[in-house]
Assembly symmetry: C2
Homo-oligomer: 214 residues x 2
């Protein structure tokens, strides 16, 4: 089911030798999920180091109005919620598969004992942690610091695929209603910052948009 080659393809473990990979294999297991299935719930106790192998995992919270707020989307092969495992606390948000997929679950206590002293592994974990901080900083910059207009401007400038998404979905990514997004894009069109070409928008004045969020 889970092969050594599969482990090796995970960048955290690329420098491990055969013996180490075998040891790792013995403390790991693979779990598959279908679309929509829950990987873990907020408040569950974090037990395993979890790495997405296939599919997309979303991390989300539910606000008091029952809106789902997606904080992060993880693609293969990233570590999910390692903070909770390291800190020995419960998950601060829930996680669900947005597509079919699978994860690798590693027994954390044993991992710590056998692998954390390995410089390469430690380095890869540093990288993963710092990137997560970078990502969270960005979430804060986007959602706490900016208003809706600036949020749209920033997101469409920094994410090429943003305007290719369904309006609906983009609105959800940006934590606003489709109506609000539609109105903002209309405003940008009037200002000549974007243009509507065959049913999807294109940026025509990136400089102007940039001014809105900087």
């Amino acid at each position: 089911m889970l092969s050594i080659d599969e482990l090796k393809s995970i960048n955290f473990f690329e420098h491990l030798d055969e013996k180490e990979l075998k040891l790792l294999l013995s403390i790991s297991r693979k779990r598959t999920f279908s679309q929509g299935e829950i990987l873990f719930y907020e408040k569950d106790k974090a037990q395993h180091l979890t790495i997405v192998l296939e599919g997309v995992v979303k991390i989300y919270k539910i606000d008091p109005k029952n809106n789902e707020i997606v904080l992060h989307r993880f693609r293969p092969k990233s570590l999910v919620a390692e903070m909770a495992v390291f800190e020995g606390i419960s998950y601060p948000a829930s996680a669900a598969f947005e597509s079919e997929g699978s994860v690798l679950e590693i027994d954390f206590e044993k991992f710590k004992e056998y692998f954390l002293a390995n410089t390469d592994v430690a380095f890869a974990l540093f990288k993963s942690l710092t990137q997560k901080i970078k990502y969270l900083d960005n979430v804060i910059a986007l959602n706490v610091v900016l208003d809706s207009t600036a949020r749209v401007a920033k997101y469409i400038c920094e994410n090429d695929d943003a305007l290719k998404m369904k309006n609906n979905q983009l609105a959800q990514y940006l934590h606003m209603t489709p109506e609000t997004l539609s109105r903002i894009l209309k405003k940008f069109t009037k200002l000549g910052f974007v243009e509507k070409a065959d049913s999807s928008y294109k940026i025509v004045n990136k400089e102007a948009l940039t001014i809105l969020f900087e």
Copy 2:
């Protein structure tokens, strides 16, 4: 100016021996700041590993309306913005001293070379990084997910000193105006969740408050 004992008192380095501490000393320097002085600006290139030795450092962003949004307050002896240094990027926010204080600046390239392979140091850094993630998660939970009322409820339940602060300052911590905070506390008083005793509030029904944010 900067002594070995001072280095040793920093938990990241408590396991280092004399020789290592001397080496560390040679790649470090101490800088002192007066109240209000800037440690770094958003967009500055991150060059040194920075540890607060004395005083309080606030990390903040400026929103489009020129409000200062404080994301974090660091007390001795914590690492500041290590993410930017590790990632080799510019600081995602600005930092200023809220009191008099000092920091230790460590040449990161040399630190990486000499110390990062040290298991104890690496472990302490893990700890620092995961705690930062925990903190940022909390900022998001507080500011993105919750509305003002829930935010006040959560903050006063989880921070004993919250109601001892000046209303003004608490409002700033919670990213809302003093007026809004005042109105929310008045509402809580009416509901019997808090009580005003000689010019400061006290929680009388923590369970009720908890329900508001969970």
